[in-house]
Symmetry: C2
Subunit: 206 residues, 2 copies
């Protein structure tokens, strides 16, 4: 498949949100102009983004809301559900387990792991925190495509190595370190301090 830029994929996610709203309101069509306005981009950008995957619209009319919704869900691989394991039962892990947006979109956290004996065994949103030493054996029994890493920086790479060896192919990383993975594994790092620093930069340079 033709290489699609990360920014295009991110915008598809954004369009999808507004399409779901339009669906809920029972709207039958939507134009590239309206999707653009809602998503903070331009109509040409919307049409270009969609054109990488096909011609979904009707000239003079716009896009059929239910069809385009389905198509984008399909492109993003959201028609199936995903099992997600979470490593790191700290504050951030806790927030993520509760985060409604994940389940809503078909990402189901199926297990939580930690090192800390004080956390192991406690119940979190219906799940028992397990000792991270069971990570490999659990994943062998119940494989997972996606893992969320919310450990301290020091242990993140080591955890990731173990996840990769256990067949995890996609990792969402909240530890503030770049992670090394083989080319067939995808990592997204969310680094909140770094986001604040870009804000600091913009305050300092005006």
């Amino acid at each position: 498949m033709r290489k699609i830029s990360d920014s295009t994929v991110r915008r598809l996610s954004v369009y999808l949100r507004f399409l779901e709203q339009a669906n809920a309101q029972g709207r039958s069509t939507i134009s590239s102009g309206e999707l653009a306005r809602l998503g903070g981009t331009t109509s040409a950008q919307v049409r270009k983004d969609l054109s990488f995957f096909g011609s979904f619209g009707k000239r003079g009319l716009g896009y059929a809301v239910p069809e385009l919704t389905r198509r984008i869900r399909d492109i993003l691989g959201l028609e199936r559900g995903y099992r997600v394991v979470l490593v790191g039962a700290g504050r951030m892990g806790g927030a993520l387990v509760q985060y409604h947006g994940f389940r809503q979109r078909g990402f189901h956290i199926t297990a939580i792991y930690d090192q800390d004996a004080r956390k192991i065994g406690s119940r979190w949103n219906g799940l028992v925190v397990r000792d991270v030493k069971h990570l490999e054996s659990d994943l062998k029994k119940d494989p997972s495509d996606i893992a969320i890493v919310a450990t301290p920086a020091e242990s993140a790479q080591q955890v990731v190595d173990r996840l990769v060896r256990s067949g995890v192919k996609a990792i969402l990383n909240f530890a503030p370190v770049p992670l090394n993975v083989p080319p067939d594994v995808e990592v997204k790092t969310v680094n909140m301090a770094l986001e604040l620093e870009t804000l600091s930069y913009s305050l300092a340079n005006r």
Copy 2:
């Protein structure tokens, strides 16, 4: 000042982390090649990024670690501290208040706000959660440059409007909606469900 790309600013943040490590290890110089390897980029990229702000290196030698650290902190505006207010005392807000990376980098959360009577008055990491209705009057007394919005999607825009009217110039947004702000206000949105969707895309298209 010449327009610097967001990606350059983000990479400077990354370099800064490794420079601080190198400092801690007492290293005196570091080359663009090494910074590149650590930060997952190329040596030409490192040199280009730095060259937008001056010539900090010594040919044949590399960069003096303490000097470059200082320069980047200065560029990013990290030599001063920032007062940060947090709106939304949910799970995510809780994780953010505790997050060590913020304080470490000079971002001090000075107040927490919520709507929910059950949360108002409770102590969080030494701060009492205040009724969000005091937002404007508090900011008038003690202005803040930066706010973190961790409210539900529905209230985010309204909260942001009030922050903007109160003089906040930079917002880190965890609510899963694009926010409208005037051009002199900077917003960074962190949308975790969207990150997972880009991972889903990469799993679906291989």
